[in-house]
């Protein structure tokens, strides 16, 4: 129960990465993900991997948790592996058996693809493992703010995310309650095929939806009672503010971008 209640994947620890401004972390991961698509030479790949490994060490998050994220892409990895190895066009044949032909080019292509995926997943894991969902929301609001001019309700989108995060555990608890109540009356959620199980979920969803609407109505009234309005700019208790570490981190990110571009041609 408690295991599931952890929203997002935030891993609380006291590291430099944890303390960084969420906007810097956003920029850092975005830059990293973009740049690994530029990696070409062996040296540039090596550079990108070492950089990321350094980040993992700095974050103080157990490597085990980082690798957990990789599990989810294992299937894609194997699938692309097969596709690339067998069907990639190439000249240099390494192994041939009837219609199966493995080429050096295919192997290389696969290696690159796999490396890219692995680095991508790990880098985004670092972001979500070191930043609370609330801080992520703040950062997102900041990046959406320029779009407010063309009518994008940045403040409201951030508020929606805040409320969604707040209600995830509440609704999960409610689902559990409804399931228990129905089990007590003989409902069966565990046996039967996929269709049967899906059908068994309908009686859970209906009361869940009804109570969510009721909650939404109550919440709207509570928000109004506390002077919530969308026609003015709200202030914030914790303004996002750049510290010295944030500037250093930005320099670091710039250094990485420059480094990768240089190494690309070696």
């Amino acid at each position: 129960m408690n295991e599931r209640l952890i929203i997002g994947q935030y891993y609380p620890a006291n590291s430099v990465l944890h303390r960084l401004d969420p906007r810097v972390k956003f920029i850092g991961s975005f830059a990293y993900i973009t740049m690994i698509f530029f990696a070409e030479s062996l040296l540039s790949w090596f550079f990108a991997a070492v950089y990321l490994f350094a980040m993992v060490i700095i974050s103080k998050v157990p490597v085990r948790l980082m690798l957990k994220g990789l599990k989810s892409i294992l299937f894609i990895l194997i699938f692309t592996c097969i596709l690339n190895i067998f069907f990639a066009p190439g000249e240099t044949v390494v192994f041939e058996f009837y219609f199966i032909k493995i080429t050096l080019e295919g192997l290389l292509l696969f290696a690159k693809m796999a490396a890219r995926l692995v680095l991508l997943i790990i880098s985004s894991s670092i972001l979500t493992l070191t930043t609370t969902p609330l801080a992520l929301t703040d950062a997102l609001e900041f990046f959406l703010r320029p779009f407010a001019k063309i009518g994008l309700p940045a403040q409201e989108i951030a508020m929606m995310m805040t409320i969604a995060l707040r209600f995830i555990p509440t609704l999960m608890e409610e689902t559990e309650k409804i399931m228990k109540a129905q089990k007590a009356r003989g409902a069966d959620f565990e046996t039967g095929g996929l269709v049967r199980r899906a059908k068994a979920l309908v009686p859970i969803l209906v009361p869940l939806f009804i109570s969510s609407f009721k909650r939404a109505e109550d919440l709207a009234m509570a928000m109004e009672a506390r002077c919530y309005r969308t026609d003015i700019k709200r202030s914030k208790m914790k303004e996002l503010k750049f510290q010295r570490a944030d500037y250093s981190a930005l320099v670091c990110v710039t250094g990485f971008i420059a480094g990768l571009i240089i190494f690309r041609y070696f």
Partner: protein, 286 residues
């Protein structure tokens, strides 16, 4: 100085069908007159559908009267420009603690109100700390409200109102979903705020022992005020309370039954201590 004033206020709920035709009208408040002084602690009683929640929403300008005027802190609630001023000066705490907490961190939730008022960051932080301090929840600043008890959540909701520095707090059955311990904590907090900060408190409840703690009790029936007076005055009219389908505190009922069976004692006893004192006096006299 009267801080809340109802003058000939009526309010009705209208139910319409898909063609906007009126199918049902229900007059929740009928020609109601009421004034509450600054610093008063008023309990509002009444069975379901007597109009007590509607009364609360009228004070907070969540709804506007159909006729008559509601004046809060000098502001007429039916004037558009006054709405946010009214809501700022009359905070409201609702029944379900889960449905009124907005953020997933206690401190952030308390900051919600002041943030809506556009107050500066440093000042918000000061207010949030002070508000949490006065409900005894400061050490939970960084906690997730999800893991707190019902009573603690309700105190956070009170802190959220306090951070807006209101003159009035309206509590709409704040203890209905709480266990006895949580009820006691919430009530203690309300009484403390009323005594120390002179915040006018309007407590809507259906617990008689809670109402007995107030300075004044208003009993609602059918959208009108049926009784209005000090707890001892209201509860001593046991017959009338029964007529209104309401109970009186156990000790008051005992008091009433003793009196009825011929024991020579005054009516309007509210606490066990008063009762023992009175019985001792009888014994001494005999």
């Amino acid at each position: 100085m009267e801080i809340i004033k109802f003058e000939n206020v009526s309010y009705e709920y209208i139910r319409t069908d898909e063609q906007q035709r009126i199918t049902q009208r229900f007059e929740a408040i009928k020609q109601l007159n009421l004034s509450i002084e600054k610093g008063e602690f008023v309990a509002v009683l009444g069975h379901n559908g007597s109009g007590k929640s509607t009364l609360a929403k009228l004070i907070n300008a969540l709804i506007q009267p159909k006729s008559g005027t509601v004046t809060v802190n000098g502001f007429d609630t039916s004037v558009e420009e006054n709405i946010y001023k009214v809501r700022k000066s009359a905070g409201m705490v609702f029944q379900n603690p889960d449905n009124q907490i907005i953020a997933s961190v206690v401190g952030e939730d308390v900051a919600f109100g002041p943030e809506n008022l556009g107050i500066k960051s440093a000042e918000i932080l000061r207010r949030v700390r002070e508000a949490l301090e006065s409900v005894g929840m400061l050490k939970y600043f960084d906690y997730s409200p999800h893991n707190l008890s019902g009573g603690q959540k309700q105190r956070i909701a009170i802190a959220g109102v306090l951070a807006m520095e209101p003159d009035i707090i309206v509590l709409d059955e704040p203890t209905a979903m709480l266990d006895p311990l949580g009820r006691r904590d919430v009530l203690k907090t309300v009484m403390k705020l009323n005594a120390e900060k002179n915040i006018t408190s309007v407590l809507i409840t259906h617990f008689m022992d809670e109402a007995a703690l107030a300075q004044r009790i208003i009993v609602m029936e059918g959208g009108k005020i049926a009784m209005d007076g000090k707890p001892a005055e209201v509860f001593s009219q046991v017959e009338k309370m029964r007529e209104l389908r309401l109970d009186v505190p156990q000790i008051t009922e005992l008091n009433y039954m003793l009196k009825k069976s011929g024991v020579n004692m005054p009516l309007g006893i509210l606490t066990v201590k008063e009762m023992t004192d009175e019985l001792c006096r009888l014994k001494l006299r005999a």
